[in-house]
Amino acid sequence: MTLIEMTGISKHFLPKITALENVDFAAEPGEIHSLLGENGAGKTTLMNILYGLYKADTGKINFDGTEVVINSPRDAINLKIGMVHQHFRLVKRHTVAENIALGLKCDNSLFPLPEVRALIEQVSERYGLNVDPDSYIWELSVGEQQRVEIIKVLCRDIKVLILDEPTSILTPQETETLFRALQLMKQEGIAIVFITHKLDEVMRFSDKVTVLRKGRKVDTVETGSVDKRGLAKLMVGRDVLFRVEKSEACPVEPVLEIKELRAMNDSGLQALDGLSLSVCGGEILGIAGVSGNGQRELVEIITGLRKKTSGEVKIGGTDVSGFKPGKIADIGVAHIPEDRIHKGSVPDMRVLDNLMLRDYRQYSKGLLLGSETMRDQSNEMVKEYNIDTPSLDTPIKLLSGGNIQKVILARELHGSPSLIIASHPTYGLDVGATEQIRNTLLGQRDRGAGVLLISEDLDEILDLSDRVVVIYEGRIMGEVTPDTDVSEIGLLMSGGSQ
């Protein structure tokens, strides 16, 4: 008898982003059901709705045959649903026991800690997940922290367990430990949903798999009845290859050259693990991959916002170690950031100000801003990039996403940069704006600039790039050539080998 049944779920976010469109999902007790898809496919959103963190715009949820309303995590917990998030919800400064005691209904309501410690040991033994109840979270490795998250959930006697990308931060051994525990839970009749983009795990550990793509459900199949390639194709969904383009070696020195780059992320883990690539002038190199595999750190290192631990980064032949962001911009690097509102612009300032954010020093006369020149330049930019704005003095946050992006493009590309780093440039944009931005990037390429295109949207990558490489766990897994089968890309993105 179906334990969880979600029907017709849709969810939209402001401004105008469709996360889910009419999705159905069902899970049975004692079943390991994986939820597969690329980034932005909607997997986490769907489960967040089940856990009460978001509210669906349409659709209903049935639990054990009865319709339920889940307005908050408390409701979900009451229904015996537990979730282990991709980004842990742990209080770093507290101990394991304190974290697990949070919100737990104990016999001894006032002084829960001794009882919780006993419970932790019980659960640890039962499922083989070991952790010291009195250690502080910040002392633990990421794998151990995840164990705490899982034990936290198991202590609450759940019927449904949701795991969001659980193995992305685990070593192979830790992954084995995890799945052994999951098997035990499965035998006890718990329904397990795990969100993943890794085909290997889907094939090895799950009974069923539901594939989502761009907010819609593609299909639900028994894993026994498909193979990895079939799944990859469902996930990526294309049968048309990318444009055929030149793939010769660079005629001159590469615009960007990276060798064996290593770096840590903010949590102290290895984000980049010996990454090497190069971008020539006059080409667009696309980096495909699920987010969280080192893309953010890579961009931050190239633009001077993060220090590398080892390796070499050369822009136009110059070693840029230790260069500040301003200096890197000065040597001809343009950056179109992923977060166009908070990182790419100053939302409260005018369109004119934002257009001039890079070049204002150039146009200034002594202490004064060269307002006349700035206005003239801005007008030109507005015309050139077809920016739709009531006036130059409108606050930029009032513009549509597409026009904000155009402003950023206009500003960044104005100085004829030699290297352009574009992160997810057409995310959330309508067709017209997307088209224009694609053409702009292609135009820059034709001018001779090198473009590094980073995106989780494979469509975007394949539409624009001359060459495509795949990043996985901080390294380039391989380059994809025009005659590669598209499912191969899916495989590379999910860690499978060629």
Binding site: F13, N48, Y51, L53, Y54, S72, P73, R74, I77, M83, H85, F88, R89, L90, V91, K92, R93, H94, E98, N99, A101, L102, G103, C106, S109, L110, F111, P112, L113, Y136, W138, K152
Partner: protein
């Protein structure tokens, strides 16, 4: 010589008592993630309420109770602004200071110069509240670190998303702590006007509210640290009066608590890196699932 030292110590403990209970209150408020800069105003309201009600009813106990309620109400107001309306907590706190100053001045008009009832010493020359506050510090420490509700409060202040995900009502916890904080600060004010000084003068807190904010940092948001900090500051205040006969200008001595506060802030800041720092979510309004 011994007499001098004992005298200073006793004065330090007495002077430190209002600072102690006020800091305990602000510790709870900030532990839940809310910053209440309005302490000076709440304390003034506590002081004047306690004095006025004591005069009117003849009972210090009722006066003190009224002050606790007054403080709690102001805490509630701050909670409403910070948690529900999610306004800028700095400015909200400042407005509380102003309202507290103004209203307390108005209420206090009729009570200036009147000699109030005094809380009599019960043991070792200290009144009962001194002991009560120390006991309170221990109890509040225990609650914060060993009980379920203490874990909830601290989690809400460090990582409200985590607490929310485990079904804790973040808003309710924050309201509770702001009201409790306000009540304790009101009690601190009450101590000033009924035990420490037994009178009312305009603006009688003279900056103690701000010192409490600094003490909260000095104590690393731990009730035990509050005891130490309060007595040290009580000591500075006590020294002020002891050093006067030595011919040092009283104005200069009057500066000491404030200079000491700045020094303590700078030092605490440097020591506060890593795990002894403020609750991570302090001062930031919480919105579920913010994109």
């Amino acid at each position: 010589m011994i007499d001098l030292i004992i005298g200073v110590l006793r004065a330090a403990i007495r002077a430190g008592s209002p600072l102690l209970v006020g800091t305990l209150g602000e510790i709870y408020t900030e532990r839940s993630g809310v910053l209440n800069l309005g302490v000076e105003g709440v304390m003034l309201m506590g002081a004047v309420t306690a004095f006025a009600v004591t005069q009117t009813t003849g009972s210090i106990a009722v006066g003190i109770l009224a002050a606790i309620i007054a403080g709690g109400l102001m805490g509630l107001l701050h909670g409403f602004m910070s948690v529900t309306l999610k306004v800028n907590q700095y400015v909200a706190g400042l407005s509380l200071v102003m309202v507290g100053s103004g209203v307390s001045s108005l209420i206090g008009l009729g009570y200036i110069g009147i000699r109030g009832k005094n809380l009599r010493p019960v043991f070792l020359g200290f009144d009962i509240l001194v002991y009560l506050f120390i006991a309170l510090a221990m109890v509040l420490w225990f609650i914060l670190y060993r009980t379920r509700i203490g874990i909830e409060i601290r989690s809400v202040g460090e990582n409200p998303a985590a607490a929310d995900a485990m079904g804790i009502n973040v808003d309710r916890t924050r309201y509770l702590c702001t009201v409790l904080g306000g009540a304790l600060v009101g009690l601190a004010g009450a101590y000033l006007s009924t035990a420490y000084l037994s009178s009312w003068t305009d603006n009688m807190t003279s900056g103690r509210g701000w010192i409490i904010l600094a003490l909260t940092i000095f104590a690393s948001w731990d009730p035990r640290g509050a005891v130490l900090g309060a007595w040290i500051f009580g000591g500075v205040e006590a020294l002020q009066y002891r050093l006067q006969p030595l011919g040092i200008s009283p104005s200069f001595l009057g500066m000491l608590p404030f200079i000491a506060t700045i020094i303590i802030l700078v030092v605490s800041g440097r020591l506060s890196k890593g795990n002894r720092g403020p609750p991570e979510a302090l001062g930031k309004p919480y919105r579920r699932g913010e994109r």
